[in-house]
């Protein structure tokens, strides 16, 4: 069994991998949902758009569910504190997600136009709201979240839902929504043709630009106006986790400490920006598959940027900084981390294998003719 400190670090990376996997896989079908009412002008076009992700959205959504399960298993205190603290935000994500399974599966089973239009907007909500809220949540992590623990580690959250919607957090929400919508647009370029493809390409131009601009703006704001958190006491990586055993202070510019200490990490924000431009160029030149992977790399860059800045913090507490949750003291036991590591190492390659197979089987452009021929079985 690996030592505790290494396991803690590996799990920080693995949660990152799962988040990135979620953003790449579930992200592209959420982006498609967000774009649906705009790139599909009539019912057939919308069915084409929906059927690009029809066979895959369900499997992709499991990235989200498994990500949640992994945080529960690896960082139970984070799972408990974040989900209960962000109560209404989490419910908003949940209720937005309700529209997806029924939207995808029920929409085309009845031909009434009002029914179909209603579910189209349902898919829009299910695609746009979750990334927006996840971005807002990240924005709040950087500012610290008002929670504290008592002696028995019962957490109390003393902020309101509306306080989460502060300007910096909303800017982060724009970054992540633009990122996911951009990714969805690039995917649509890959899987459609003609008018829809052309509209998707234009959407990729707009959302790619918005993503880069808001990403840079958020970085500047973080640099100028948002103090970071620093652990002052000595860190013992192998110690039993106890979030109340350290001292933490707020310090201007501390969110850039890792970038100063390890300049190589600056490649992450660079990747976030270069990936977008590369994806746009590749999509325009017809190499849409490569464009999809460039866009995926941009996602790696953006999420990696946030993670590298926050490390070792996961969820700093603005109310009682020493209670901040970090990769060292909000984790599961060594045994659980080890078992979960094995489970991930065994199953993740298998998942990637059959997911790739599913995309290969269902590959190629989705066309209006396909939708007409499969009117009773397609979405």
């Amino acid at each position: 069994m690996l030592d505790y400190e290494s396991l803690k670090l590996i799990w920080w990376l693995l949660v990152g991998v799962l988040l990135v996997g979620f953003a790449i896989m579930d992200g592209h079908d959420m982006g498609v949902g967000t774009l649906l009412p705009f790139v599909g002008k009539d019912d057939t076009e919308r069915r084409v758009v929906i059927n690009t992700v029809g066979p895959h959205w369900d499997g992709n959504q499991v990235w989200f569910i498994t990500g949640g399960g992994a945080i529960f298993a690896a960082w139970p205190l984070v799972y408990a504190t974040a989900f209960s603290g962000f109560y209404w935000a989490m419910l908003a994500v949940l209720w937005a997600l309700f529209f997806r399974p029924v939207g995808f599966d029920y929409r085309s089973k009845i031909s009434n136009p009002t029914w179909r239009k209603t579910w189209d907007w349902g898919l829009f909500v299910g695609g746009a709201v979750p990334p927006l809220i996840f971005g807002v949540a990240f924005g709040n992590l950087f500012q610290g979240v008002p929670f504290s623990f008592d002696d028995h580690l019962v957490s109390t959250y003393s902020g309101s839902f509306w306080a989460l919607l502060n300007p910096f957090a909303l800017l982060c929400g724009v970054v992540s929504t633009a990122m996911i919508t951009f990714h969805g647009a690039i995917y649509l370029v890959h899987r459609t043709q003609g008018e829809i493809q052309w509209r998707a390409l234009r959407a990729a131009g707009f959302f790619g630009g918005l993503m880069v601009l808001s990403f840079v703006a958020a970085g500047v704001w973080l640099w100028m106006g948002i103090p970071g958190y620093v652990i002052q006491s000595a860190v013992e990586g192998g110690a039993l986790p106890n979030p109340l055993a350290k001292t933490v202070v707020r310090e201007a510019g501390a969110w850039f400490a890792n970038y100063r200490a390890y300049p190589a990490t600056l490649l992450l924000p660079a990747l976030g920006i270069v990936g977008v431009f590369a994806a746009q160029a590749l999509a325009r030149s017809g190499r849409s598959m490569a464009a999809f992977w460039a866009s995926a790399l941009a996602i790696v860059g953006v999420i990696g940027t946030a993670g590298a800045a926050l490390f070792p913090f996961i969820m700093p507490s603005s109310l009682d900084p020493r209670a901040s949750l970090t990769v060292w003291d909000s984790v599961s036991s060594r045994l659980t981390l080890n078992i979960m590591l094995w489970a991930t190492l065994i199953f993740m390659p298998i998942i990637i294998l059959y997911t790739s197979w599913a995309y290969r089987v269902m590959g190629g452009k989705v066309t209006a003719a396909y939708v007409r021929e499969n009117s009773h079985s397609a979405y």
Binding site: D58, A73, S84, M90, Y106, H152, N242
Partner: protein, 517 residues
């Protein structure tokens, strides 16, 4: 201290959303195997009728599956949103099966379901059958891991409390996986799902036969459902989780409550066929007893005793008193981890920590304890008898009614004359709600029967909740009721529409009520 209203509302929300989710899950678990059977026959015989069966029943399966997915996410979220202290306290053990469920099962199921619906023209027959089989395997593995998590709540093996991290920690993963409670639950629950799937196909096929529509299609479907249903209902009854009831203390308490056994009877104990439990005086005002039966089915022996409620409560009183010492020592240790005297005291009473925590429902500091409060906590340790007693009997009665129905259905399907027996077809049609009622009532027996604990003997329910405001709970509960009502109306509308239209909805040109593009 956590308000009782918050605890009640959190429980209500969890119960409502879990029961709602469980309207869809059993049908998914059962129908997926029926699809495997139908498609296997298609691949072996090449008859298009069986392909149409797979596709039509698959269509109804898909409508149901969508809501299963929708409502399942709620449950995963809810541990964090509404049961934060629970998530912290036992996440080290409970989180692992949930995460492994995602990795091993849910990914497989959800990826394959896409290919099941969209891959008919892109896969060879054998490949498509493989997809369907993998979807079924994923679905059932999913149930396995969820029930391993649930089984651990009933019988928390392979874990130990740590006062440094202030939580339960896993000590033996395989003990958690091979928890006998979890295994018994898994077999019982998936079999109940198989019965649900079989009843669904049996009832709807009967309806077509009563109307003499799509007769060949309906007859074949009826036959498969009758055979699959009969085997499954036998499995539910024979391998019911009665066999798991003597394993842990939680199950013993549950057993005593659902059988209204106040006293410890000499072995083998009699079975109360019907009784009127009197909670206040701890006796049955009236009972029809069948000698020996309880002892035999409960212990599978003639000489092992089954403890009655009074004996259980007496033991729990001792554990609560010892638990007071454990909690007091724990508080001292949380203040100073090097307090050796407190550590010794704690180690001695550690096993009863959970019982001491039961008192926190009434007092936040133990210097306010009175004998009345301890008595209240003792009484809390056994769930109310009447709801347990009657819901268990309802579940069992439904089980035997279904055994009779599937028995008759199978008999007449072997004889080949069921299509001419309108009484049988009508009975099958009207029995449609039975498995759902049995499943929901079974969930109630298992989960209400574990009260006052979320983790039996370890963590009381009232300590498990998130520290939310009561207003938040009213708000979220209202939201769930609103969303779930709309979703149910939409789902039922589609389900009834397509069930009524029948296989004609496939647009193949071979059936009544053909769909027009």
């Amino acid at each position: 201290m956590v308000s009782e209203q918050l605890v009640d509302l959190s429980r209500l929300q969890f119960a409502a959303t879990a029961l709602y989710h469980f309207l869809f899950v059993p049908l998914t678990i059962g129908m997926v195997w029926m699809l495997v059977i139908m498609e296997s026959v298609y691949v072996m015989t090449g008859k298009p009728l069986y392909k149409d069966m797979t596709r039509f029943w698959g269509k109804l399966f898909g409508i149901n599956f969508a809501l299963g997915v929708t409502t399942g996410i709620t449950l995963e979220f809810q541990f964090g949103t509404n049961w934060a202290y629970y998530s912290h306290y036992v996440g080290d053990i409970f989180g692992a099966p949930l995460a492994i469920e995602g990795l091993m099962a849910f990914f497989l199921e959800s990826t394959m379901i896409g290919l099941f619906f969209f891959g008919w023209d892109r896969l060879s027959r054998r490949q498509h059958l493989l997809v369907t089989v993998l979807m079924a395997v994923g679905t059932n593995l999913s149930a396995l891991w969820i029930l391993i998590a649930n089984g651990w709540m009933q019988n928390p093996v392979g874990a130990e409390f740590s006062y440094v991290t202030m939580r339960m920690e896993m000590t033996d993963f395989w003990a958690v996986v091979f928890n006998p409670d979890a295994q018994a639950k898994f077999v019982h629950t998936v079999s109940a799902g198989y019965v649900t799937g079989a009843m669904f196909v049996l009832s709807i096929s009967s309806w077509y036969l009563l109307r003499r529509r799509d007769v060949e299609f309906a007859k074949r479907s009826f036959g498969i459902a009758a055979a699959f249903g009969f085997a499954s209902v036998c499995s539910v009854i024979v391998l019911g989780d009665e066999s798991g009831y003597t394993v842990g203390e939680a199950q013993q308490t549950k057993l005593a409550a659902m059988e209204a056994m106040w006293e410890t009877e000499p072995a083998p104990a009699p079975f109360n066929l019907i009784a009127i439990p009197n909670e206040a005086e701890m006796k049955n005002d009236f009972a029809i007893e069948i000698p020996w039966v309880m002892g035999i089915i409960g212990t599978r022996s003639l000489d092992k005793q089954i403890p009655g409620i009074k004996e259980i409560k007496a033991k729990n009183r001792e554990r609560i008193v010892s638990g007071i010492e454990a909690v007091t020592a724990l508080d001292a240790l949380r203040r100073d981890q090097n307090d050796e005297a407190a550590r010794r005291e704690f180690e001695e009473h550690k096993a009863d920590l959970g019982f001491g925590l039961l008192l926190k429902k009434y007092v936040s500091h133990f210097d306010q304890l009175t004998p009345e409060i301890i008595e209240k906590a003792v009484n809390d340790t056994v769930p109310r008898v009447a709801p347990m007693f009657w819901s268990f009997r309802l579940m069992v009665a439904l089980g035997f009614a279904m055994l009779l129905l599937f028995g008759l259905a199978l008999w007449h399907s072997v004889k080949g004359d069921f299509a001419d027996k309108p009484w049988l077809l009508r009975a099958a049609l009207y029995s449609l709600p039975m498995p759902w009622i049995a499943c929901e009532v079974g969930w109630f027996v298992a989960e209400y029967g574990r009260q006052p604990w979320t983790i039996y003997g370890v963590l009381p329910t009232h300590l498990s909740v998130s520290t939310l405001s009561v207003e938040s709970l009213y708000g979220s509960l209202a939201g769930f009721v609103g969303f779930y009502t709309v979703l149910l109306v939409v789902e039922m509308y589609l389900m009834i529409k397509f069930a009524k239209q029948g296989p004609g909805s496939l647009g193949t040109g071979r059936y009544a009520n053909e769909a027009h593009a």
